[in-house]
Subunit: 473 residues, 2 copies
Amino acid sequence: MSYFDMASAAPLHPVARQALVAALDEGWADPARLYREGRRARLLLDAAREAAAEEVGCRPDELAFTPSGTRALHSAVAGAAAGRRRTGRHVVLSAVEHSAVLHAAEPFDTTEVAVDRAGRVDAGRFAAALRPDTALACLQSANHEVGTLQPVAEVADACRAAGVPLLVDAAQSLTWGPVAGDWSLLAGSAHKWGGPPGVGLLVVRKGTRFAPQEPADERESGRAPGFENLPAIVAAAASLRAVRDGAAAEAARLSALVDVIRTRVPQLVPDVEVVGHERLRLPHLVTFSCLYVDGEALLSGLDRAGFSVSSGSSCTSSTLTPSHVLKAMGVLSEGNVRVSLPPGTAAEDVERFLAALPRVVADVRAHMGADAVPGLNTPADGGTSAAAAVSDATATEPGAELVVDSLGKRCPIPVIELARVIGEVPLGGLVTVLSDDEAARLDIPAWCTMRDQEYVGERPAERGTAYVVRRRV
Amino acid sequence: MSYFDMASAAPLHPVARQALVAALDEGWADPARLYREGRRARLLLDAAREAAAEEVGCRPDELAFTPSGTRALHSAVAGAAAGRRRTGRHVVLSAVEHSAVLHAAEPFDTTEVAVDRAGRVDAGRFAAALRPDTALACLQSANHEVGTLQPVAEVADACRAAGVPLLVDAAQSLTWGPVAGDWSLLAGSAHKWGGPPGVGLLVVRKGTRFAPQEPADERESGRAPGFENLPAIVAAAASLRAVRDGAAAEAARLSALVDVIRTRVPQLVPDVEVVGHERLRLPHLVTFSCLYVDGEALLSGLDRAGFSVSSGSSCTSSTLTPSHVLKAMGVLSEGNVRVSLPPGTAAEDVERFLAALPRVVADVRAHMGADAVPGLNTPADGGTSAAAAVSDATATEPGAELVVDSLGKRCPIPVIELARVIGEVPLGGLVTVLSDDEAARLDIPAWCTMRDQEYVGERPAERGTAYVVRRRV
């Protein structure tokens, strides 16, 4: 079994395990107490804070341990915005922030800064969004779904110049090093770097106005209510230190493996889009999307083949909407796969993945009926085509326009049906796809880009939306 | 070393340790993921939820795991009050709730129901505080500082009748059994029952209106944002089950040891008040206060003698105010000691504690200058009297009234100075103590009760407050 989902959670680092087990005996008491068990716990807590602060690049008294990265982000957004409530209620953030940031910012007047097709914000564009009433700006160090690095240092400078504090969500990058730049607040999550779950970091630089919004509590400088999760905190700090040791070399090694995946997947699998920035990216993470593929079926095929990966496809989430990150980038969301390699991943495991992937994708496509799509390199055996049945396409004006009724059908069926009928209209002819699946809004234009067809636009239909495509090739 | 502070944190139960270590290997992945590591984590999470729910006495889907008992209480108060915001913003709670409840209720219009000298609310009085605009009522199952059990079942019935949900803070009692009665919400904390820190319980009964106030998050039914602290959750559930096994027998055994402490401490140490209810109490917890004793010095003396206990005295807290619980009960706060015996405490350890206590108290009293207090049974060697120096008492009207200037002096000095001069006025004469220490407001009346003197009252003075006492004996 190869676990390639480090961006969700890393397996516990051996150092973390060792530290955690040791701290269970030494660190269960209340560090606020004056007796010896309490003093011992306090020493452990102080040492962990110093170690973590050193790796983050801040003062120990600027760092609070929270119960998770999510809670750190929630507290950071609420506390920093409240600290500047006299300035205003405007929050600037990138369109590809983690949902924890987006949800925490919901009560405010927000400006989402768009990203390019690689998922990166433009620093100048971000700076231009700052206003006199901007209380807070938020920018991740690296995107959690596609690995693209953000221009944090430049944005931090722009924020300083405007007098706006910048919160950096560093959850995905702390494994590899501290976040450069003159940021004001930072959040992290231990289980992303091989620490145990239950520990996040909230850093508030001296001089940053901060008004905690949780009920009053004396622990963690009033920034993280509740009894400290001490054994896990000790383990989190120890593992951060451990992964940083040799992080540069491991980053280079994994980055080369990711390059192999980025290059070879499009060679091995037809109709694939590798997404995210080619160079300005996390060393260990790569994301790609496969046309005509149901994300859930793909994950489950890869799981059966022995690979644990993640997906931003709508059909794998309970919300039935595609990842907001892929949406903001304007890239294909169907058949989406995120591969994030834990430190120590062997080159052979990546080779095995590349060897297994084409068959898994082909099987899913065959099962979806995508083997009937002209020009698609389908597997020799054809597979069983559960959804291959009948095309609902109807030539309303013969030779000129086709209407495909995909109402009630979920991603990737609308795109598959579009692909199957496009050849039935002449060059310059139109295909209109009726769909009520949210993913179609993203995937039909993305398909057009990938297949050199013209996306004309969408209009509301009696039910769902009509997406119009003009045949160009 | 004897650790007698289970009410703060219990040492990790061996079953919890075992479960935690096992779950580190099996339960680090994201339980929301579909691959095998995720499915394995989900199974562990589901099993832990079922086990915990069974011990609590609720349905598994009513129980969410939170990062701590404090966070469970915060979420419970905010979510339940918001769920009934159309009813009103009134919250009824006992005056002796945990500070996490009191702080969470601060944004609301609150009615604090008074307690008797034993720390117990009267169910009828609690019911009478419910109003048509009451959104929520809060009552602990047992008090964390004095161990007094509250009439939860009766109050729950009254709340049901009034259509008001009752939140029970069960942090101190879950070790011993489920909370009886028809409550609507319940909170607990794993590290109080021998589980690891980092895990709380939030139970919301079906049919209870609840609107989570944290930013949206899919985990734990939207009631506890952030990645689940799974290894700790597994350990928490396992240890709750383990401590419940044989809890009744252990409760009886510890309760007998507590009875020994309750009876013998006043025999062994002069001028001690044992506080909390004699019968309606937690089995393992007893609290007493010692006149003329500095709480911090007492804790540190007991620590040196090998006993880890806690205190609600103002001089051991950073806030310089005495415990709000002792204040609400109207009992002495100085020299306060809370003894809470972990399961398995040996009778010999309690005997050793009783053997050591008199000398430790006597030493602190001697050090405070209390050996000069008439009628106090001081140790034979007298000790060194750092604060014994001079009495600031001045006879303004000879033989009739004395004014003691204790301004700038901290608990227990004002009471010691009062005790030293009371004999200098005739029967019926007055002593006025000038003090700016918050504890004096509680401790001077309490001293009067204990020493059969008459507490006349207080009035504002030029600096601080003037407390007036009439000599009766």
